[in-house]
Symmetry: C2
Subunit: 449 residues, 2 copies
């Protein structure tokens, strides 16, 4: 399986490019060649922007030659989830509902990437309208996991994750409404960063549930993810981060809910990561989020309501254009009572307070990103220690709370199962303190190697 | 009709008290005597706190004698809408549903009044749970308008307004979810101030619709209302305000919707007030709020949903304890779909932008508070120029938009109809700029005198 990246990280590219060892044109051609070779099998891209990417790469090389340096993303091929508007390009949302759409303007995050000199390599496949965790319900076919094409790459930003793993892009943008950046990062062995709610503009991005929608990066390292995130917030030149010191740092582990049901191999990798942090000098304390088990109920009432509200007219006019699974989910959302929506919004405030309290003075919360490795495409259940468990509920179980509460969260690889599938650790930081979280994540990444 | 106030304004009392011409005990006894004489007829108070008020008044007089001055509200008898918690006193919300309730703590606004040295004279009657504009559906009987007891004093803070007019209190607290401070102020010829949303704490106040609930004062003058409002925001000693200059000031008048249906006498008083402002040197410009006519639809979906969510359990357990009208309104709210609630919240953001745009660089918006004078108790419709119009819709028509948008608004008297019933002018200011609005209102009050 050719899943060893053939592209450098953003940091590696930057060093070599500024040393004159590699051109943006070269790395862009490498990505385009990987797309050419494997996209039919993986369904990672919906739209490949080859000509435009070549033009942008050549321009970056010219600028560098002329002494102009736009910072770390200059000349870097980045893939864009096809839910985000790029002027003059269709935003399909992986749905036939959007047939004929051409974006009239760049989303603010795209404008920021252009200012940073990034190369926009193309638009990636996703779960239709981001309404799913597996990227299998798409008008453009199921995205496949480059580590094992019989398995899902996670979702909804599955194409963005698969593109990086397959060397089709150096980094990618995703969106995360219940885990849609972190779940594919976990399933594909990447870093995925969901910032604090409302820190990055979601304008020009097809909404799923406005209360929960976040835009953020997928990348191969914490530093890469941070560099893209900085640009998305609109800073002109990203500054990078230095690692925090783990010595004397305290992590809160809310195990009682988040580690209740786990695949044994995934649990073993998670436990080993926690031990590695302790060996590096960090303390680990059990913490409680008393109403964590209500998260799914709170989530679904808000998520389904807002999703269905956005889609209501299209569901009435062109229901047959949706994939059957996503259509059913959207239609069910139309029967929720407003009283239950408001009750969920009230409960949400309780959960925010509980996560704040679990953090307390601690550096971050530490928990798995996903209690299972990437499941087979089409699987509705997986068997864990003899019990059948719902795939969708498990995939969302550890991530969706932080969409409900808006806390920043980062997923990072922490080894592989016996079958070679990636496992993932999640860190959750204080609201508004994504920078502090990223510094901690950089140290954790080094400690768990 | 003995509706000439026998109590001084806050300003008048303060001057005389500090000059040694009157005691807090005296003005408190005057109020208690008025309650004794007329409360059976008017139903303004649910709970009279005579002993406690006498104790507080004596304490204020002792403090003044000892040289301690707590500022403008020191020694001033203030009535409290019986939706607001006073420790050790029932909060009935004018409902049998609350039988047996005793507040365990002061609401923050009550704590602020105590710190300012105010005398809490009692708890005033209201439309049950504030769910109505006429104060006629109450477990304690309909409140009556002191100007004409066959008419409503407006609502839901009808008891607070009637108490001031009848000399039972110098000022009063109300709450305003669709106009519940401004409507009784208009119906009774008082000043009513609804501040910017979230400027005054609504904790310890039985909620109606949290998105729209505001706490504020009713009083006889703009200055009095402002002084109470300042204390409610938590400032230790209110500073008062100086009048703005009307010369060269520009008002926006959104007449096309708000003046479409009006009683001729009320329109005449409104038009005369606008002319008086022009004569005082102010300019008046027509402005448009393009979706103003959608306000009622946006309002009802949010208001009814949030009201019913709060009452859901009580509606299931003790439905027979509600008055029939309020019970029916609350039960209808339980059938709203969440998609419609979210759509209304989205439309709300449009209305906020439109009111901001109508304000533009202008000093304030100028419109009627109520297109009719206080209607007869029990009337469901009134006839205007030969057409039957719904009383409830008309009473809310000019006020509810600013609950939807959160802009500060002040109602003030602008003369009386041929039948002697008060008419009212409304000024609307910028969000967060209640102080600037009050300064303008002080100048307008002087100009329309």
């Amino acid at each position: 399986m050719p899943d060893t990246p053939v592209t450098p990280t953003i940091e590696q590219f930057g060093r070599r490019w500024r040393a004159g060892d590699i051109s943006a044109a070269t790395v862009t051609e490498t990505c385009l060649a990987a797309i050419e070779a494997r996209n039919d099998a993986l369904n990672a891209f919906i739209t490949v922007m080859g000509d435009e990417a070549r033009r942008q790469a050549a321009e970056a090389d010219r600028e560098r030659a002329a002494g102009r340096d736009r910072g770390p993303l200059h000349g870097v091929p980045i893939a864009i989830k096809d839910l985000i508007d790029i002027k003059g390009v269709p935003t399909t949302a992986a749905s036939r509902v959007r047939e004929g759409h051409i974006s009239s303007a760049d989303a603010p995050v795209i404008a920021h990437l252009r200012n940073a000199g990034a190369v926009l390599i193309g638009k990636t496949n996703l779960h239709e309208f981001a309404y799913g965790t597996t990227s299998e319900d798409s008008a453009f076919g199921a995205v496949r996991n480059p580590h094992d094409p019989s398995r899902t790459p996670g979702g909804s930003s599955g194409g963005s994750a698969a593109a990086i793993v397959a060397g089709m892009a150096v980094a990618a943008l995703g969106s995360d409404t219940g885990g849609s950046i972190r779940i594919p990062a976990a399933a594909c062995g990447l870093v995925g960063l969901k910032p604090t709610y409302d820190e990055v503009s979601a304008a020009g991005v097809v909404p799923l549930a406005r209360s929960f929608d976040h835009v953020g990066p997928l990348a191969r390292t914490v530093m890469d993810a941070w560099l893209v995130h900085e640009v998305l917030t609109g800073v002109s030149v990203p500054q990078g981060i230095g690692a925090a010191s783990l010595k004397g740092m305290t992590f809160g582990v809310p195990d009682s809910y988040f580690c209740e049901v786990m695949e044994p191999d995934v649990r073993a990798r998670y436990d080993a990561s926690v031990r590695a942090l302790q060996e590096a000098g960090a303390a680990v304390q059990q913490v409680e989020i008393p109403h964590a088990a209500l998260t799914a109920a709170v989530y679904i009432h808000i998520h389904a309501t807002e999703g269905s509200e956005y889609h209501a007219r299209m569901l009435e006019r062109v229901p047959e254009r949706y994939t059957p699974v996503v259509r059913r989910r959207l239609e069910m959302g139309r029967y929720i009572l407003s009283e239950d929506y408001v009750r969920a919004q009230n409960a949400r405030r309780v959960l925010v307070r509980e996560v704040d309290a679990a953090l307390g003075e601690r550096a971050a919360l530490l928990l798995p990103t996903m209690p299972i490795a990437a499941p087979p495409i089409g699987a509705e259940t997986v068997s864990i220690e003899g019990r059948d468990e719902q795939v969708r509920a498990l995939m969302l179980r550890c991530t969706q709370l932080f969409n409900v509460t808006g806390h920043p969260a980062i997923a990072m690889p922490c080894g592989v199962t016996g079958g070679g599938m990636p496992c993932s650790l999640q860190l959750v930081g204080r609201r508004g303190k994504t920078h502090a979280l990223a510094r901690i994540a950089l140290a954790v990444e080094a400690a768990i190697g």
